[in-house]
Symmetry: C2
Subunit: 259 residues, 2 copies
């Protein structure tokens, strides 16, 4: 018997920061007729809140450090304001959405990243997704909405990469579902030329990806995103696509990642 | 066959604002061996956040008005920071806690209070608790933790009285469970003399309450709290007590409210 289909859709900052765009994306998401999970990043809400509170973001070589104060701000913004507003909007579209951090139901257990060689602060790397409980919640016709906050099981919340949360959830649920992982971001897909939105690569097998990296077509932020994609495919996720939110309504939109 | 027992415990600001006291209360709560639900208010976190953001609280005859900006602050503080930290701490005590606003799973649907005669802003009065879904979550051995935020089903979040949320949940679940509703607050119980903590009334039947109100022993904030208690008893809640968090470990602590 074939497995039921499950979409895991990750939406990023560009959508979260634009109330009208968010409304459209959530509507399109609500129209997916199969089981589905939404994972959202933080967007600029946390940054703006930090600015208003006079909390200066700290960086190490361009990478953000999550201080105790920034963690509180992330929890308030991501798990509070964004998560609950997304849930309420999805409810208005008839989706029985239910919003979580990884601490809820201990659905995503993570481990604080070691302080050596660089101390990134209260950042967690995913250790375990409770696929069994997630499946039971899906079986109750609930649509889970995850914010990018997890916990360590010892009472501490941790800031966690939303792309990784999406891929780890997709992997964990691939035994029970035919999983499709969609990474929605500000570009229409993986571009051959980063400055040309019409240069979308429709299919990206791993050997081609290697070439693109060597030639410098794909670089910086796209590298960890695409590594997540290949990792998910290798670990059993049936389908992985990267592109704009058009992917929710057009199965040909975006870049399909392949092994 | 007798119904299984379910505790609904509401904790207030005095506990939430004291990290050590909160840790003890959550530990005591974790030791309750029956099914249980925790409801928390906001405490001073939202007030402090508003002050730091330069948002002035607005009042009408001493009653707080929830402006759009204050609603965002309440959602961030209650449904975000407080709720997720409470959940993470309970997880560290081995309780599979899961944190919600009323929007999650549409567990608590409310209606925006009419703007006439006084516009209190984004405040919701509880319309419906989904007892069926709550029971299914309890059957999954999950311990639900509610923040005092609900939704109207049309995409809007609403600030809601935590005492009312606790009583409405207790009422809704009284068909399936033998419910015990515990209101933990800063006093050891209902006091005969508000200035004397040793004047706890151990049992308060409704006729005695009427006399206390007439004589002025019970007044101001205690009135709506106790009205909630009697309403809950009339609507099928098996046991209602008001007092300090000692009630979690001492069945004789606090004031037992009776019809």
């Amino acid at each position: 018997m074939s497995k039921p289909k499950l979409y895991i859709v990750k939406i990023g900052g560009n959508v979260l920061d634009d109330s009208e765009a968010l409304q459209q994306v959530l509507f399109d998401f609500s129209q997916l007729s199969t089981a589905k999970i939404l994972v959202h990043g933080g967007g600029k809400i946390a940054t703006r809140l930090a600015e208003r509170l006079g909390v200066k973001p700290e960086f190490h070589n361009g990478r953000r450090i999550t201080t105790a104060e920034m963690l509180d701000i992330a929890v308030m913004s991501y798990a509070g304001l964004t998560n609950k507003n997304v849930v309420a909007r999805l409810q208005s579209f008839g989706v029985n959405a239910i919003g979580f951090s990884g601490a809820d139901g201990s659905l995503i257990l993570s481990k604080k990243r070691p302080a050596e060689p660089i101390d990134f602060g209260f950042v967690g790397d995913v250790e375990k997704v409770d696929a069994d409980l997630l499946k039971k919640l899906i079986d109750l016709n609930l649509t889970v909405v995850f914010s990018a906050i997890t916990h360590d099981g010892n009472g501490n919340l941790l800031n966690t990469n939303a792309d990784t949360i999406a891929s780890e959830i997709a992997i964990a649920l691939s035994e029970a579902f035919e999983t499709a992982l969609l990474y929605c971001f500000e570009k229409p897909g993986v571009l051959l030329d980063g400055d040309d939105d019409s240069s979308v690569i429709s299919e990206l097998p791993h050997p081609d990806y290697k070439n693109l990296v060597e030639n410098g077509n794909v670089h910086s932020g796209m590298l960890p995103k695409l590594e997540n994609c290949f990792h998910a495919l290798q670990a059993g996720v049936a389908e992985v696509r990267v592109g704009s939110a058009l992917m929710l309504t057009d199965s040909k939109a975006g870049t399909r990642i392949k092994l």
